[in-house]
């Protein structure tokens, strides 16, 4: 079997695809909270993607990719049996897994998939695990059955109220708190504003928040410093020291500014791609 081969491709919803990739070296050592860097073609970007699952015996890793720009669209156009050009990892510092007591794992959108292995490891470490899952609408809320099966309690929130409570994950956490849940720590993965407001709320409620940051990266090995984030007033490299950091003092506004740096160019690149690309997936 050739390394980097896509063994399973599953369309989870319109823009979100799950890939199971043959990569024994990574499957052997991966831990919760780590990521890989993918490239799809010569001249392609190095894109960091959180590991969602891995299987030592089968030598496979699982990632879930939401098509946002050119590179992620190109990834999602790859088919079963084809290969990613490069898969490097596992990168980053694993999340510290221990018994915190009662923990909330909070996922927004594809962040649900990314927080799943952390939930599983925390559960195995003896924590009482509450999953708080959020999405814009029911269709985008992925992995709910798996989360429900794993966790002691699962609550969902959608912006439009099409599933679970109507509102944001912050509303769900507030209502858990109001209902008497005593939560010790929270692990948050999702869009930056969601992580920012969830961290703030948790801090206010006496829950220690941790957030997994997604700054722009190049090499992912600590070499370029492009992923620098400010935590507790100190510059940290998310690729090697993170991506999960204690969230109370993360400068989320700086992260939003830094991740927006290339938006206009990314848009141009995506438009060029969509113009030229004859899609093989047959969905659009």
């Amino acid at each position: 079997m050739q390394e980097n081969t896509i063994l399973i491709k599953e369309q989870l919803n319109g823009a979100v695809v799950k890939f199971v990739i043959y990569k024994p070296l990574i499957a052997r050592t991966a831990k919760a909270g780590q990521f890989v860097i993918l490239r799809g073609r010569e001249g392609g970007e190095r894109v960091p993607v959180t590991l969602v699952d891995w299987d030592k015996e089968k030598g496979t890793i699982t990632v879930i990719i939401q098509a946002i720009g050119k590179s992620t669209s190109l990834f999602n156009s790859l088919n079963q049996g084809e290969q990613f050009l490069n898969v490097a990892g596992p990168l980053g510092t694993p999340v510290e897994i221990k018994n915190y007591g009662t923990v909330a794992v909070v996922g927004g959108g594809v962040g649900i998939a990314e927080v799943y292995p952390i939930a599983r490891a925390l559960k195995e470490a003896g924590n009482r695990v509450i999953a708080v899952l959020g999405a814009r609408t029911k269709e985008l809320l992925i992995l709910e059955p798996q989360m429900s099966e794993l966790c002691d309690k699962t609550v969902c929130a959608t912006d439009d109220g099409s599933h679970g409570m109507k509102g944001m994950v912050t509303d769900a956490i507030q209502s858990l708190h109001d209902g008497g849940e005593k939560i010790d720590a929270g692990f948050i993965i999702g869009p930056i504003p969601m992580m920012k407001f969830t961290s703030r709320l948790m801090d206010k409620l006496g829950i220690t928040p941790y957030a997994s940051l997604n700054p722009i990266m190049l090499d992912g090995t600590g070499m370029c410093g492009c992923c620098r984030v400010t935590v507790e007033g100190k510059v940290r490299f998310a690729c090697v020291e993170g991506p999960m950091f204690p969230a109370r003092t993360i400068d989320f506004d700086e992260l939003i500014r830094r991740t927006s740096e290339y938006k206009p160019l990314e848009k141009e690149s995506l438009e060029n791609y969509q113009k030229d690309h004859v899609c093989k997936c047959g969905l659009h």
């Binding site: 490069n86 090995t221 620098r228 090697v240």
Partner: protein
């Protein structure tokens, strides 16, 4: 008869006005006539100082003699007896510090242009099919892992293969060459030259793997189960930042990031390639070393209105090669000396607007003998900039040291070695920037070659 008093051939460079708009190699290869004339200047000294001062011991007088006789194949074979990466060395070695700096003709007539002769020999031999795969000793059955595929590690790998060992090179990135690939721009070292030199090493039987970050994908302990010895040449993959306010503003790059975007990811071809780069109207590069020159010259090629190198001491103390400084100046890079940056200023959107700086004067010499910059009180001023590149040095990448508790490091974060060049872990050797901090390609190669000899002795001595 040698003709030492003939004028030194300096070769030709692309016109600055043309080259500042492209990434093509600036220094043009010698013509056959230029090479002949330059080779004839060499006196072929006994006990040649050029050779004695070459970090990798290139047999300079002997190869030039063969070249002079038109024997390109003989000349390249002679070079490759000690250095297996001649097309790279000929281009990026600071010859003025080593061979040319010690040429007896230097004071009176100008040193023999050994760098350009080496490059001419390597490029011509390769083009004419005269560059043969070096002969490797009989297989020893011993396996060696080389970590990183930069100059140090490939030099070690090539020498180890020559000694008959089974060598595998592990590279963390998607392309081979380390700093040659991500740091040094193609206008100084064309990508095809890196590819060709690595092909030579591959042809010696060395296996190369991308996407393996030792310390993460596999630990040193895992390697020691599969290999008889390990060479760590993982380089200086950690940028030094200034530690001043505003350093995370949008538009501030480390030299490593800027150069990696341009050189490794080929962002200058965006959107044909997928990695973008943004360049402002006024670029300021902070620093005065070779990375600062590379960053400034890359920045110039992306078409801003101005590129300024701001250095904290004066021109005389600047560590960059004089030739690089000259090339940058020809291309329109401005230099502003005796400046200390104090704060990077930003607008309400977090974008860089300028650098608050102070002026310096030179004080007493430091431990290395360079005069120290001393701030002049009340000299604060604002240097306008919308792109800032911080090029004040690199430190060793800490991943291997962090994940290998048995490996001791010094206060500077470099791996500690004993007199035999061994790390504190048996069978594990190291060299290049992981033990030096931030040095040159040639010193990295020298370390690799010397470590290969030690590994060889270690493997031959049995366990």
């Amino acid at each position: 008869m040698p003709n030492p008093s003939a004028p030194r051939q300096n070769g030709r460079q692309l016109d600055p006005q043309v080259r500042k708009k492209n990434f093509e190699e600036v220094a043009q290869i010698f013509t056959q006539e230029e090479a002949q004339a330059e080779a004839e200047r060499c006196l072929h000294c006994q006990n040649a100082r050029c050779q004695a001062n070459c970090p990798v011991g290139v047999q300079v007088p002997a190869f030039i003699a063969l070249l002079k006789d038109g024997n390109i194949g003989g000349a390249i074979t002679k070079i490759m007896e000690t250095s297996l990466l001649p097309a790279i060395c000929g281009r990026v070695c600071p010859q003025e510090k080593h061979c040319e700096g010690n040429c007896v003709l230097k004071a009176k007539f100008g040193a023999v242009n050994i760098g350009m002769l080496e490059r001419y020999t390597a490029d011509t031999a390769r083009k004419e099919g005269l560059l043969k795969t070096p002969v490797c000793a009989q297989k020893t059955g011993k396996k060696v892992a080389c970590i990183g595929s930069g100059p140090s590690s490939i030099a070690a790998a090539a020498e180890l293969a020559r000694a008959g060992h089974d060598v595998t090179v592990f590279e963390a990135l998607h392309a081979f060459g380390g700093v040659l690939r991500y740091g040094i721009p193609s206008f100084r070292l064309p990508r095809e030259v890196i590819d060709a030199e690595i092909e030579t090493v591959k042809s010696m039987g060395v296996k190369f793997q991308t996407d393996v970050l030792i310390g993460a994908s596999e630990k040193i302990a895992d390697l020691l189960k599969q290999f008889d010895a390990v060479y760590i040449g993982s380089g200086a993959g950690l940028p030094t930042m200034l530690g001043i306010p505003g350093e995370s503003a949008v538009g501030v790059y480390s030299a490593n990031e800027f150069l990696t975007r341009v050189n490794l990811m080929q962002a200058y071809k965006f959107p044909q390639t997928d990695t973008p780069i943004r360049i402002g109207k006024h670029v300021v590069v902070l620093g005065g070393g070779n990375s600062a020159m590379d960053a400034a010259r890359c920045a110039m090629r992306l078409g801003p209105d101005s590129v300024t190198v701001a250095y904290r001491r004066s021109a005389a103390e600047m560590p960059a090669r004089a030739a690089e400084v000259l090339h940058a100046q020809e291309e329109g890079v401005a230099f502003d000396y005796l400046i200390t940056p104090k704060e990077i200023l930003q607008d309400e959107n977090g974008r860089v607007t300028g650098i608050k700086c102070t002026r310096n004067e030179l004080g007493d010499p430091d431990a290395k003998g360079r005069r120290r910059p001393v701030e002049i009180a009340g000299s604060e001023f604002i240097l306008p900039a919308d792109t800032v590149i911080v090029a004040i040095g690199q430190r060793p990448n800490p991943i291997i040291a962090k994940t290998t508790p048995e490996l001791k490091t010094t206060e500077r974060g470099v791996l500690a070695l004993d007199e035999q060049g061994k790390t504190t872990l048996p069978g594990v050797y190291a060299g290049g920037d992981i033990i030096r901090g931030g040095a040159t390609v040639l010193l990295a190669m020298k370390d690799g070659i010397e470590a290969a000899r030690r590994i060889n002795a270690y493997l031959n001595g049995g366990k």
